[in-house]
Symmetry: C2
Subunit: 154 residues, 2 copies
């Protein structure tokens, strides 16, 4: 099994456990949304609208509210994270590796999103939290600027 397929299975398991722990129900719609999200949006940052439009083509009966609510469930269950890059839309991203937190560089010219991870930053943040007796639950780090190609064309 490929690492990606393995990861997808792990998330599925986590989600199923979440469903039964919370006494929720598994439905065809949630299955479809899960498959689409974890099948086509790995490493991407999709808006609810985009995912809905995409799914609607194959499954016209699925409503916007369901996609919206299901993405919230993904976040609650810890298999997706919600991002906001300042354009007013919430974006969702499948979580690949829950151990390694990664961050984003956003080009203010072309809007392209680059990812990076950095251990030194992580340990700094843990220290800062500890120093302030703060129990770190989550953190977000975004760098805004010009990517190399947009720099050149200026």
């Amino acid at each position: 099994m490929t690492p990606v397929a393995q990861m997808k299975m792990d998330r599925r398991k986590t989600f199923n456990e979440f469903i039964s722990r919370k006494r929720l129900k598994s439905t065809k719609q949630r299955d479809v949304i899960f498959d689409e999200f974890f099948g086509n949006y790995m490493g991407r940052h999709v808006t609810v609208e985009e995912l809905y439009e995409d799914i609607k083509r194959k499954y016209p009966h699925i409503g916007f509210a369901t996609v919206y609510r299901t993405l919230k469930l993904f976040r609650e269950s810890g298999i997706a994270s919600e991002r906001n890059f300042g354009d007013g839309k919430s974006r969702y991203e499948p979580i690949r590796d829950e151990r390694e937190h990664h961050h984003h560089m956003i080009c203010t010219e072309c809007g392209k999103i680059y990812e990076f991870a950095n251990n030194q930053v992580e340990s700094c943040l843990n220290q800062i939290a500890k120093l302030n007796e703060f129990k770190l639950e989550n953190h977000k780090l975004e760098i805004y600027g010009l990517c190399s190609s947009c720099r050149e064309s200026r």
Copy 2:
């Protein structure tokens, strides 16, 4: 002159230069909003609504749209920064010291916002940007979690 008064004067100068560079006009309304914002909201993170309500009490003729637009101008001119802590509202904060970037720890229980600055994090980010040939314009770092008092009461 106190350091705070000095800072306020510096921001005023920056804003005036911005106004004349962009061929904009200085108005009574902008003066009022500047004074209120830099007089009462130092080190705070005010929403447009809050600032508007506050100003309306003393100057009932000033409209919401004007406060809204003026805060955008403050941001454009570099004397204020816009923040978003995930509650759907944009918050504005007067910039005290443009050399030292600071960040936020947000308690997910009580909503209180703590500030911190850290040189090591800053230099990490500069390195990361450099490595990726990215021209850093701005960056945001937020830590979400439980503050010490909310930890105890759990």
